[in-house]
Symmetry: C2
Amino acid sequence: MKLSVRGEYALRALLVLGVNYDQSVVRIQTISEQQNIPKRFLEQILNDLKTAGVVESRRGVAGGYRLARRPEEITLAVIIRHIEGALAPVSCVSESYYEKCTCPDESRCAIRSVMKEVREAVVKIVERTTIAELCERWRHLQQEPLNPFDFSI
Amino acid sequence: MKLSVRGEYALRALLVLGVNYDQSVVRIQTISEQQNIPKRFLEQILNDLKTAGVVESRRGVAGGYRLARRPEEITLAVIIRHIEGALAPVSCVSESYYEKCTCPDESRCAIRSVMKEVREAVVKIVERTTIAELCERWRHLQQEPLNPFDFSI
DNA sequence: GAAAACCCTAGTATGTCAATAGAGATTTGA
DNA sequence: TCAAATCTCTATTGACATACTAGGGTTTTC
């Protein structure tokens, strides 16, 4: 699994929506500024997440986005699969996006068996991690002091 | 980690070289035919793996490629890092290919902390898996009967 | 009815990927 | 010694994806 910039933006935006879940909707503009994401690009991404049923929107002057379901119900797996496609390192071990590969005997391919392990390891993490979990981590991290390495003169 | 076709070919070629480690060199032509890999493309890949010190070559009429080190000493991690770059899903959690990301506070990024876990899980597998291990699995799988689903009329 | 928001489609610059191509260098062995 | 087989090096190509940018449209509120 490699995350594109688009996928990264999606997760960052959803984290913001998660943190503000109890509030009303959040404007694209706000997310864009908070997270350094190009506004017009973010529009597309959020719109796309709407088709996945992850967020919902309100139009008009008091409009914006919010999560369509409870943060506990939205896993990273669902988001990443929708934005990036397969979680597996090669498509011949993907469950959701399987494609035959060109190797002589897929059913007895040694590489495939290792790639299955990789896939399992990745899936295990992203399927158990929800937006709620992300928010919790975020709240914890906010309470920690800044890492001194991150200060620059 | 997503494997490109190039990376897949590299692993398949190295598996062949691993299985034939005790023999003399193996010709590109042979690997290409056995593994359904375009010959000219495979040339590039093997040449590239030479610069990584993974294989060595012999030129001329009895030429070909062989592993430069014992199969036990070559991990998938080394191969994949050389061909594909970072193992990490985002470059801000990569050790070998770190790059700063655009998020407001990297040191306290919740997404980053999950991505670190993913990275660790992937690295753990590919760093412990060697060409020798791959060969062993291959030999085991060869002894198994063909999966009936793979027969087609 | 005007402003502020989301919505939809299209375009575009850049880069990557998977080859393909051509010509050169090295070795063997007849 | 020469021809054939092999690896070596560099360049090019076509297709596609990525990360935006742009323009106009629709909906809602005040």
